[in-house]
Amino acid sequence: MNEAASSARVPGTSRTAEARFGWLSGLLLLVLIAFLTLAPVVYVVIESFDVSPLGAPFKFGLDGWRDIVGSQRTWNSIIYSFILSTRVPIAILVALGISWLLIRVDIPGRRFIELSLLFGFFLPGVPMMMGWVLLLDKNYGLLNVLVQKLPFVTEPLFSIYSIPGIMWVHLSLTTIPIMVILLAPAFRQLDAAYEEAAEMSGASTLTSLRRVTLPLLAPAILTAFIAGLIRSLETFEVEQLLGVPANIFVYATRIFEMLSREPPLFPQALALSTLFLAILFVLSTFYQIYLRRAGNRATITGKGQRIQSRKRAWAPLVSVVLIVYVLFSIFLPLGVLISGSLNKLFGFFFIDDPWTISHWREVMSDDRFMRAVFNSISLGVTVGLIGILAFALLSWVIVRSRLWSRDIVSFLVWLPWAIPGLVLGVTLLSLLLNVPGLSKLYGTLTPLILALLIKELPIGVQMIRTAIAQTSHELEEAAKMSGAGFLQTFRRVTLPLIAPTLVSVFLLVFASTVRDISTVVLIAAPGTRTLSLLMFDFASSGRFESAAVVGVIIAVIALGVTAIAFRLGHRNGI
């Protein structure tokens, strides 16, 4: 890309910054990001063609590719993956509505609703899903039993082991909460004056939303859509437990199945992952083209910003609906999870003497417990803090700098999304073991931090770059004109302007780090196991009750961190 074109595409490019970053900086940045993102991808692609037996040198072959292309189950799994990904647009619509209500309308209890959604995203997936199973199982689900007591209902209404069941679990526990987390900051950064101007010109609220709000939020919505779509294609825990009994296999459970074989079918699993790379390539190219065409959509300018919410007559009614929704979708399964941790057998309420605290005693007296708490919190905070700083710098480079490599970097940061967590874990393990120098890190917390940073890189950078693009460059220019250097401007102007997004990214990264199992399960050494891995250990031994105890403890940590972040945000007017 030539410099003139670059300049034309980024009107806010700073000349001071340009002077600081030269050709070498561009190269260094490219090498660093390529190493972190491209190395795993290259490994996946190459290994998909390796058909040698264990320990033998590389032998080129198409067996893996032939197997996946010739398998009807693989094609079915891809179809199911896309069917299930339709939850993403549904969640975006719901989340847009909720975000608008929370930020633009003065609805009673909005802080509780927002806090609950954040809290919901933090909650550990598998135990919460077990809560939903207990509520919605076709044969014994408590809600089915209750509904069947009604005079006109003779059959169970719900079945958790189905497409709608899987969709509901995803929507309620992750997809809608994460969409609110992604979209609410964008709403907060949008000056209400735009919408007020539209309404003063005679536009209805709906017209103002359609013609003003949505177009201004389009980059954030698109980021959320693509992020959600890719994430939806790689999730597997829910599909594994709820889909397989109904013969519903998705892309990620197929990969998991291949890796579970004895010995594992690596070429097939990696070939299927490579196929996914192609999908990601199309999506990210589409996204880049869109961003270029969309140009500058700064909504935070030097004129100041108003985000005052309005009073509406119907606000109390909407508030009741939203509170009932969060109580039903988050606190009801959480209640089941808590009671499950106190059951002799998770969810078996009808046996003699069903309650016990023995599982709590077992977990608390487990030698691994305190270390896992320490590891989880320190990993979450470290990855969260390093993440927001590194992602913010990288985003600034992509949006504001004139570095020659920024377009390539902008593409590379998508790549970690192309690899499902478990495959990323296998890949990183291989790299750690085989790349000289890196092997010294094996067995420490450092590979976990790196792995989680790589995994969270796409969402962190896309969210922050969208936020930076929403801020007008004139504010940074003013700071520089007043004599501030790059770092001072970045710290005193850029970061405070995008603070709501930074808080969201921190929470998102912290939550993902604390919840993550698939990426770190292969690289965590005995002393570096986290609470999620401890929970996974219990679940793997069939001890769902002890897993539920750890799940409740993760929920308590989640609640604490969410509350602190909220309080900090509130104090700083975020």
Binding site: G70, L345, F348, I351, S430, L522, R529, D537
Partner: protein
């Protein structure tokens, strides 16, 4: 990052110091390693200098193993629990790279293909204790191995697997006596099986194919509209609740966990027309040739093959040991092999490398690739 790693090490050091103080006040268990002689003492001494032995295995084995090993040898163990597939992936990649962090793995027969490239330590050469060597201490007068050369894959215990498990609140025990009974129309859609494409589910399926034939398998798994679960606990839970009152392919720890928590209606039902199959489950021990703590790993092997090691395993997994002197009361009768009975032994190199490959292909054709 460094600070975190250091802090993590401090915690480890503190825990180690507490353990040492505790240990100093007690004495090591005596008797189990009698007659080890100079060679044993030499290895033990070297092991003390190496640091904790790193063992991979089923998570529930972690605590009893670490405690028992410490009590009997004074040595520490870092036990990394997880599902066999993840642990095998990790172990295989470590040994293939030559950059080994884990000393030993307790898993299934999968490790057999690590023999040819020379990745495994010879265990038979490292039997140091007379109590392990002595044929009298082993059922049938010999230790059991998963490899043809009786060298690398030591099988501590084997259990009988493959029986259906019934919910006797729904199905009377006498209603299903032979495999053909499972094909009765009233059981259509009522059977849950641990997915035959995975571990113990695959072993149960292989047993049915080997003894009843592939056509019978098709009738049972497809015509009877069997529901497949990817988690053994999930399958037992459906069974206990009665939504699927017959389960196949589930393992003893899951069944016994439910029975011990009040679900006495979960009953394993041996069939009259076949003895079941023998599996090593998680009892197969292999050690990396380039183990980072080779002496500690040898001590662990000898401990695991000794009476206290096998007692710890057998008590936790509720499966019998191959040692003749280990009898655990809580191991249920249905998993104990009967003397003189001819079982299909799936954890043998020949069967694993030849028949299992064929059966896997058949399963793929029937259940989908």
């Amino acid at each position: 990052m460094t600070i975190m790693h250091r802090t993590s090490k401090w915690i480890g050091a503190f825990a180690g110091a507490v353990a040492s103080v505790t240990l100093a006040g007690s004495t090591l268990a005596a008797g189990w390693d009698d007659g080890g002689g100079e060679a044993w003492q030499k290895v033990l001494e070297a092991a003390r200098k190496e640091g904790p032995v790193v063992v991979l295995g089923r998570p529930d084995l972690g605590k009893p193993f670490a405690e028992g090993f410490k009590r009997d040898t004074g040595l520490s163990m870092d036990f990394l629990g997880g599902q066999t597939r993840e642990l095998q992936s990790r172990f295989r990649r470590e040994v293939a790279s030559g950059n080994v962090l884990s000393d030993a793995i307790l898993g299934g027969e999968t490790a057999v293909d690590m023999i040819a490239p020379g990745y495994l330590m010879s265990l038979s050469e490292n039997i140091l204790l007379p109590g392990v060597k002595d044929p009298k201490n082993w059922i049938n007068g010999k230790m059991q191995w998963g490899d043809k050369g009786n060298t690398y894959l030591f099988i501590g215990g084997e259990y009988v697997h493959g029986w259906p498990v019934l919910n006797t609140n729904v199905i009377k025990p006498g209603d299903i006596r032979v495999w053909e009974d499972m094909l009765k129309p009233q059981y259509k859609g009522k059977i849950v099986a641990f997915d035959p494409r995975e571990g113990a589910g695959g072993a149960a399926a292989a047993y049915i194919i080997e003894t009843k034939g592939i056509e019978f398998f098709k009738k049972l798994y497809t015509d009877q509209q069997m529901v497949l679960a990817r988690d053994g606990r999930q399958a037992v839970e459906w069974l206990a609740r009665g939504s699927h009152p017959i389960a196949l392919g589930v393992v003893p720890p899951d069944v016994e966990y439910f029975r011990n928590n009040g679900m006495k209606n979960v009953v394993v039902t041996p069939m009259e027309d076949g003895p079941g199959t023998l599996l090593g489950g998680s009892a197969v021990l292999t050690i990396a040739k380039k183990a980072p703590h080779p002496n500690a790993a040898i001590v662990f092997f000898n401990w695991y093959a000794s009476k206290p090691g096998q007692e710890a395993f057998s008590t936790t997994w509720r499966t019998p040991s191959n040692r003749a002197d280990v009898e655990i009361a809580t191991v249920p009768d249905y998993v104990k092999p009967k003397a003189g009975q001819k079982y299909l032994e799936q954890y043998r190199e020949d069967w694993w490398m030849q028949r299992r490959t064929v059966i896997e292909k058949q399963l793929e054709e029937i259940l989908g690739k």
